[in-house]
């Protein structure tokens, strides 16, 4: 048990650092790395694409992808080290994670040779940006309850319906959309997975304004949108299998969150409001700190497992299940510390912004409740509840209160 690099890790880290030193600036102390893009700024996107291309051309992109698809054929170990190092530099926001982390692997697993040829190298270099079209207004936690339809017409599929919570829809060239091609089949059996050109006629994109005023996600409306059958991923009716691959890769990429208000920051806030000596405040901060530490060291354990070749499993749900509600609690506590002045939007510690932003973290990528179910089912292997929606034709599953 030690925290030092192995010689191989140290060597790889030095090489990564040399590249980064040459092409990027180190973050100033206290500066945080650019996160996901809040708004769709075309200039920023161009910068992101340029950075991705530079990495690709120098052998630093898609480290774990096979070489034949434009990757470096390295292990997760190198990938972890690279991410640690890149995180210390000022780089443009990463708009490729959905493509590289989820869509790419799905195409590798279920796509045709032609699709792989056509899409993967461009995706790896950041030439095209990809989005994922999964959730629907009536299919969130119950993703397989989706209703967006795809009807075969000659060599094409014609898509109608609405997707929601699509990140980056406005600047993506390609999207992968999961559709219902057979409403008479059982819920998980009538789905088909399609690639669609996001510039196709019939696609309308509307940004979603969140409760904190930001708009990172979109609604995407499909009206008779056509995509050729050659862009189908996997067999007709077998879309759920592809979706499962995507979701497994998504889970692996949802981290503990990171960023935002930390337990230790509350010490500074407590001092500012004259309550650093208040033991009720100290006790609460200690609890937050212990929990955050547990999460951090759980990350170390996972990293160790990955570096030994394990694939991150459903255990990764812990990060989100602990981190997201804790962020909300931290924010709420930090606001309350400020007393009646807590209603003011304070930029120093950002508790109010965090209070308005954190509820989204408890929902996006699977609600707390879904995370608990995943742990119960996939980690603890507990028996599940009786299902009323299994083995029934999809269009006979109740989707709302019975009409009186």
């Amino acid at each position: 048990m030690d925290f030092k690099d192995t010689p191989a890790e140290a060597e790889f880290r030095a090489k990564a650092r040399a590249f980064l030193d040459e092409h990027a600036e180190r973050l100033a102390p206290g500066e945080s790395a650019a996160g996901f893009m809040e708004r769709d700024d075309p200039d920023l996107i161009k910068k992101s694409q340029a950075w991705q291309a530079l990495k690709k051309d120098n052998g630093w992109a898609c480290l774990t992808w096979p070489k034949e698809y434009g990757g470096q054929g390295l292990s997760s170990l190198e990938s972890v080290v690279w991410n640690q190092e890149e995180g210390k530099y000022r780089t443009p926001p990463n708009v490729f994670s959905i493509g590289l982390g989820m869509m790419g692997p799905t195409i590798m697993a279920h796509g045709t040779d032609e699709q792989k040829e056509r899409f993967l190298a461009r995706m790896a270099r950041g030439d095209d940006i990809w989005c994922q079209l999964f959730s629907e207004p009536a299919a969130g936690s119950d993703l397989a309850g989706l209703r967006t339809s795809a009807v075969r017409d000659g060599d094409d599929w014609v898509i109608n319906g609405q997707k929601i919570w699509t990140t980056g829809a406005t600047y993506c060239k390609w999207g992968m959309v999961i559709t219902r091609s057979d409403p008479n089949a059982a819920k998980h059996d009538g789905l088909t997975y399609l690639i669609v050109d996001m510039e196709s006629p019939g696609i309308e994109i509307r940004p979603i304004k969140q409760i904190n005023g930001a708009s990172g996600f979109n609604e995407v409306f499909f009206s008779d949108v056509r995509t050729p059958d050659s862009l189908r991923v996997g067999a007709v009716g077998d879309g759920w299998r592809g979706a499962t691959t995507t979701l497994m890769n998504e889970r692996a990429s949802i981290g503990g969150g990171g960023g935002g208000l930390r337990a230790e920051d509350l010490l500074g806030l407590a001092k500012k409001v004259g309550r650093l000596d208040d033991s009720s405040v100290r006790q609460r901060i200690a609890d937050f700190y212990v929990r955050a530490s547990g999460l951090k060291y759980t990350g170390y354990r996972t990293q160790t497992a990955i570096s030994r070749g394990s694939i991150p499993g459903p255990e990764a749900s812990i990060g989100k299940l602990v981190g997201a509600p804790m962020m909300q609690e931290l924010a709420s506590f930090g606001i309350d510390l400020q007393g009646s002045a807590g209603v003011l939007i304070d930029r120093d510690f950002g508790c109010q912004d965090s209070y308005l932003g954190s509820p989204g973290m408890r929902i996006a990528g699977g609600t707390d409740e879904i995370m608990r179910d995943i742990i119960a089912r996939r980690v603890l292997r507990l028996p599940t509840e009786p299902r009323v929606d299994k083995g029934v034709p999809f269009n006979q599953i109740p989707s709302g209160p019975p009409t009186p």
């Binding site: 936690s141 409760i211 209603v343 109740p398 709302g400």
Partner: protein, 370 residues
């Protein structure tokens, strides 16, 4: 033993509720949220006309001749409808301060306007973040002139009259100030619930007049805060109940995995827990209402109980409302965030629950020593 409201009181509540259902759908609150308005002037006028603002003001000063049991029920309905008006502040803080300490001519001058809604009052205490120490303010009032800065003044964007806690030569006193007067600068601040604005008030030699005795400021303020806490608790309770009702309805209409999501224990048991805490808060609010109406010795403790449990249930129901709505709950378009904002706002505007818990313990220790 009769621990319930009378039929007349329940009828009044029903009338208020019916009026607000009609006149104050949530779109009214949203309109204020999305505009530069600081409150809904039409509803404010209606509130005055129906006697809500003067419910506890004697008829000789233009009051409606109701009592506090009526007032708390009105507050509950105002809370339930998330009405964007400075009700709790003008009625619970400013009016109470003047009722408690005003000389007859001050009552004449201010209460009539407050009852009629021509005047909107507030109470300005805090000068920095963190718990307020009532004995320790730096704003001064000397020779009729007020100097200093108050922050997070509730409904500070709407008010035209402020009762200000100030230092008057070593002790504290309350001072009434006209916010339109020379030497007053008002800055509306960005806050978590823009439908209930807060403001910074800067006083540079502004003219004011003493309210109550010299040196009585801290004691009077505490008295007013205790009474306002009960009224606000009812407003919080109303909002919490509404948030809960909407969530219950949504989760029963929303289907996932072929059945209503409220049929899942993960949801239904948490709804049961919220129901329980709502009932506990409601009962504490009942006790507060009784204490307010009878001006009981137990009022300070009753105020703490009501304030603490109402703040808890306000935050719990609004947090759960967003969560149980799932993705749509996090959109601006849905109403959840208006409850989420308002609950946090009301839970802080008279000081955090922590401060009230500390006060409760002080009362309990004093009571045990007695």
């Amino acid at each position: 033993m009769n621990f319930d409201f009378s039929e007349e009181q329940k009828l009044l509540k029903k009338t208020v509720q019916d009026f607000l259902t009609e006149q104050a759908p949530l779109a009214v609150n949203r309109a204020v949220l999305e505009s530069d308005a600081v409150y809904d002037e039409g509803l404010w006028k209606s509130a005055a006309e129906m006697g809500w603002l003067g419910a506890a003001i004697p008829e000789e000063y233009g009051g409606a001749g109701f009592g506090y049991l009526e007032l708390v029920l009105i507050a509950e309905e105002v809370g339930r409808a998330l009405v964007p008006i400075p009700f709790g502040t003008s009625v619970g803080l400013a009016t109470e301060a003047i009722l408690a300490a005003g000389k007859p001519e001050q009552k004449e001058k201010y209460l009539t306007g407050l009852a009629a809604g021509d005047r909107i009052g507030t109470l300005a205490i805090a000068e920095g973040p963190g718990p307020v120490k009532l004995e320790d303010v730096t704003t001064t009032f000397e020779n009729g002139a007020l100097n200093g800065t108050k922050i997070a003044v509730p409904d500070g964007g709407a008010a035209d009259t402020a009762v200000v806690l100030a230092n008057t030569g070593g002790a504290t006193s309350l001072v009434i100030v006209d916010l339109g007067a020379d030497g007053v600068t008002r800055t509306v601040q960005r806050s978590i619930d823009p439908t209930r604005t807060v403001a910074t008030l800067e006083f540079k030699g502004a003219a004011g007049e003493l309210l109550g005795g010299q040196g009585e400021g801290a004691a009077l303020t505490q008295r007013v805060l205790d009474r306002a806490a009960i009224l606000t608790a009812w407003e919080q309770l109303g909002g919490a109940q509404r948030a809960f009702d909407i969530t219950q309805e949504f989760t029963t209409g929303r289907y996932a995995f072929g059945r209503p999501i409220s049929s899942f224990q993960a949801i239904r048991h948490r709804l049961a827990d919220q129901y329980v805490d709502l009932e506990l808060a409601r009962s504490n609010c009942y006790y507060g209402a009784w204490a307010l109406e009878t001006n009981a010795d137990e009022l300070p403790i009753a105020a703490c109980n009501a304030r603490i449990s109402a703040t808890h249930i306000g935050e719990l129901t609004s947090v759960e409302m967003v969560q149980m709505h799932g993705g749509v709950g996090y959109t601006w378009e849905y109403d959840c965030h208006m409850f989420y904002r308002r609950a946090k706002h009301l839970g802080l505007v008279l000081g955090s629950a922590d401060e009230w818990r500390e006060r409760l313990i002080q009362h309990l220790i004093a009571k045990q020593a007695a």
